[in-house]
């Protein structure tokens, strides 16, 4: 062990895109704190994911993206096609969305970022984040901005929740090809322009990349390749949850040695420290060249896979596992150096790991304990409470996200007491397991008093048979009791649910839905997913037990997830359809899922912040927040055809040769979605595109118009007649003036049309300049039509027969 580790050995740890954008991820801040505590004085960290979001969602980049879309997607060619197959339908949709929305997005994106970050005003009373009618259009603007960025790099898709390309994560040659694709990999230019110069300037001896998700694999390897080219003596290592699953395969894939020097498996603290120690010790030896970082003998570093480059070549070498650290000895994470003002949240929500692994660890579908491991370890309540106070004071925030698979009953009693006794004054949310002895009326009240505002329980299914197969160890009765006790204490309840577990029938899935519908009002959110088989899961290792036949794809050398055939129950395709059925019900029954309210569910801590409150703003209860959302939807639905209605300024319209809704429905079909990388797994089914086209057919021509309103950030599709009416309304000045020209029957139709557009925000009763605009309206020249066509007019002969 080296006793003194000075600034002469700089270490840089980076979180590559893409991860969620509302708060820092915990792994790197934990490792930074650990290395610093062990004497490494020069350890820096970068969150390249949030930096990338900030870079792409800028006025300058969206202008660049608009030009790239025009260059790459060639809307005119697509509009002239006789019909659109799946691939062209995707390109066409991306192109028309860009054409309709790009100008408005460029104008509004910086304001939208400021609003979501709470940087739009001095006080919470004035900040748009807290008002749904200002917050939701801003969030939509950011999502649409990423649609524009994605269109520029078509068919790649970057969202706040995922990054996929045409390349499959399952195949190493595709993954490596993606790291070279300048057109479709947006991170190459981002790294070159915004990241690499800083890394080169800091001259790290070790660069560590945290790869938690499949969405990070290509961006991480892209960065690794670029850094290794620029700094050949920097040792590039990677670790994290995703690599805990597939790291061995990644190391053995030809060509990866140009991107990485090693991979750390499982918990990173001990292996990363040993790696730094080993490299530093080697460098300090006399006569060693600077390139030792990539040619060292690292046999002694536990839990490390590394390329042995001695003697030429790069031989993957796998070391024995390291002992895990004693978690209670680990320091609190350090977030210094992260761009804390760049996260898409008005308040910093600090992640903190109370334990690692799962004390239950029996669920047959879950493999997280395996990859987070080894084993289950917890910090003491005393340590947690002490760290919470340190973090609260150091980062001037009272909001915490306790990172845990589930908290054991003992901790659920002791930690709240310590937080209350210590006058922590915090609010927090966490994942949880249904523990009836812990979540009693008294227990949930204590949790609330300690600051708990939201808990996410693994509910999974309402079928006793399926729960037994899952070995969940919980009954529906206790699930309902626990949820109700939380709800009575004003702790918001989220359920994780699953559809498509092996042998599950449609009837069983619908029973799960019925249970969730029955408990709407107690359960505020449902995080639903379809069942997947990964290679660590019991369902993969013992498929006969679950009536499964695993389907292997011999070309998929990085495969983690597998297709399967079940002896009974739903097929994978039927499970995907059932997923849509359940989701449609949630949209009807859960206020947080209705319409665009769903963004509260999707923005991680944003809903929680409403429940938490701030020094300037009283906390809301789950009930009061839902009521506010319901009232908003009711007021929207009640909008009518007032005579004062006029066209909202800044609308943009694009004439369409195909139906936008038709394209959207086509692309949303489970078969079409199967031909894109799956959201959860990052893989896609071979030949799915051809299968989907054969079964779904092509999109026929029609004549239509896409309208985009930048203020409400809404897309609406009209027929050309509808656009003509909008233009007439604009010229008439008000609905009343236009309606005077109509017959009684015509007036009724006009008013119905206007009322619907009023509900959608396309028409408004506010005069230009009167409204408290959520975002600045796009400037338009005097005398110019407010509805400006942004692209080409449709062809005269626009009614082609559908192609068979």
């Amino acid at each position: 062990m080296i006793s003194t580790r000075t600034a002469e050995f700089p270490v840089l740890l980076a979180f590559p895109p893409q991860g969620h954008w509302t708060q820092p991820h915990l792994a790197i801040p934990s490792l930074v704190a650990w290395l610093r505590a062990q004497g490494y004085a020069n350890v820096q960290q970068m969150d390249l994911s949030v930096e990338a979001f900030d870079h792409f969602l800028s006025r300058r980049y969206l202008e660049r993206a608009r030009a790239m879309v025009a260059e790459r997607l060639q809307l005119g060619r697509l509009q002239d096609a006789a019909s659109l197959g799946l691939g062209d339908a995707r390109a066409w949709r991306a192109a028309v969305e860009a054409a309709a929305s790009a100008d408005a997005l460029i104008e509004r994106v910086e304001d939208a970022k400021r609003l979501v970050r709470g940087q739009d005003a001095e006080t919470d009373g004035e900040r748009g984040f807290w008002e749904p009618d200002r917050y939701l259009p801003a969030v939509r603007t950011l999502y649409h901005g990423l649609r524009l960025v994605s269109a520029a790099h078509f068919p790649s898709e970057l969202t706040p929740h995922n990054f996929t390309m045409r390349y499959s994560n399952d195949r190493s040659f595709e993954v490596l090809a993606a790291t070279f694709d300048e057109d479709e990999n947006p991170f190459i230019a981002f790294y070159r322009e915004r990241v690499l110069p800083r890394i080169i300037a800091s001259k790290p001896r070790v660069l560590g990349l945290s790869v938690l998700y499949g969405s990070q694999l290509v961006p991480a390897l892209t960065l690794g390749r670029m850094v290794k080219q620029a700094l050949p003596d920097c040792h590039v290592t990677a670790g994290g949850g995703y690599l805990a699953y597939v790291g061995k395969k990644v190391m053995q894939a030809p060509g990866v040695d140009a991107c990485l020097d090693s991979i750390v498996f499982h918990e990173g603290e001990a292996p990363l420290l040993a790696l730094c120690d080993a490299l530093r010790e080697l460098e300090s030896a006399p006569g060693v060249t600077p390139s030792v970082g990539s040619r060292a003998d690292l046999t002694s570093v536990g839990s490390l896979a590394w390329y042995d480059r001695r003697g030429g070549g790069a031989r993957p070498t796998f070391n024995t596992p390291a002992h895990p650290i004693k978690l209670d000895d680990a320091p609190a994470p350090e977030f210094d150096g992260l761009p804390l003002d760049k996260y898409f949240s008005p308040r910093l929500v600090v992640p903190y790991d109370v334990n690692r692994g799962c004390y239950y660890g029996e669920c047959t579908f879950c493999t997280l304990p395996t990859v987070i491991g080894p084993g289950y370890r917890t910090r003491s309540a005393e340590t947690i409470a002490r760290h919470v106070l340190e973090l609260r004071d150091r980062y001037a925030t009272t909001h915490f996200n306790f990172i845990t698979d589930c908290m054991p009953p003992g901790l659920l009693e002791e930690l709240p007491k310590r937080l209350i006794d210590g006058e922590a004054g915090i609010t927090w949310w966490a994942d949880a397991r249904v523990e009836p002895k812990a979540y009693t009326p008294a227990g949930t009240q204590l949790l609330y008093d300690s600051g708990c505002r939201k808990l996410l329980f693994g509910f999974e299914s309402a079928s006793k048979r399926i729960l037994k197969m899952m070995m969940k160890g919980q009954s529906l009765k206790t699930v309902a009791e626990v949820a109700q006790n939380c709800a009575k204490a004003d702790i918001s309840v989220t359920f994780y649910a699953m559809v498509g577990f092996p042998t599950e029938t449609r009837e069983e899935a619908r029973a799960t839905l019925a249970f969730l519908e029955e408990h709407a009002g107690t359960v505020r959110e449902v995080s639903l997913q379809t069942f997947h088989i990964d290679e660590v899961a019991l369902t993969y290792r013992d498929p006969e037990r679950f009536g499964l036949k695993i389907l292997d794809d011999p070309g998929a050398d990085l495969a983690l997830y597998h297709d399967y055939e079940a002896e009974s129950g739903m097929t994978q395709e039927e499970a995907a359809e059932m997923f849509e059925e359940l989701m449609a019900s949630f949209r009807r029954h859960l206020p947080l899922f209705a319409g665009d309210n769903v963004f509260y569910f999707m923005q991680k801590s944003h809903y929680f912040l409403h429940l938490a409150g701030t020094p300037e703003r009283a906390p809301e209860t789950p009930d009061s927040f839902e009521q506010r959302l319901r009232a908003r939807m009711t007021a929207k639905d009640a909008r009518s055809a007032s005579g004062a209605l006029r066209v909202r300024p800044g609308l943009a319209s694009v004439p369409l040769s195909f139906s936008y809704k038709g394209a959207r429905d086509l692309l949303a079909h489970p078969l079409a979605r199967a031909s894109r990388p799956d959201f959860l797994t990052g893989r896609y089914v071979g030949e799915a595109e051809a299968t989907a086209e054969a079964r779904l057919g092509h999109l026929p021509r029609t004549s239509s118009v896409l309208v985009y309103d930048g203020d409400s950030a809404e897309f609406v599709e009209l027929r050309p007649d509808g656009l003509a009416v909008l233009r007439a309304l604009e010229r008439a000045g008000s609905l009343e003036a236009l309606a005077r020209t109509a017959s009684p029957a015509g007036r009724a139709r006009l008013e119905a049309f206007a009322a619907e557009l009023h509900r959608l925000g396309i028409l408004t009763t506010e005069r230009v300049g009167d409204a408290p605009e959520t975002l600045r309206p796009a400037p338009r020249g005097a005398g110019q039509s407010l509805i400006h066509p942004t692209f080409i007019e449709p062809r005269e002969e626009s009614h082609h027969a559908p192609q068979s």
Binding site: R66, D596, D721, A728
Partner: protein
């Protein structure tokens, strides 16, 4: 190479913008602005397709990406 492509794209986008403005101007020069008197609202196709959130809640999962 990238920069060149962007420049070309920007020029094309500008051209398109000009041409659509011209098309709009031509339409306007056909006569005095109509206030709707020439529209038969009973015969028009006034259907509206709303684009309910294009963002699917299915794009979230237990890993909270």
């Amino acid at each position: 190479m990238h920069r060149k492509a962007e420049t070309k794209g920007a020029a094309e986008a500008q051209d398109q913008s000009v041409s659509t403005d011209q098309a709009q101007g031509a339409a306007r020069s056909d006569g005095p602005p109509s206030t709707g008197g020439d529209l038969d609202f009973e015969a028009l196709d006034l259907s509206i397709e709303t684009v309910e959130e294009r963002i699917s809640p299915s794009e979230t999962n237990v890993f909270d990406k």
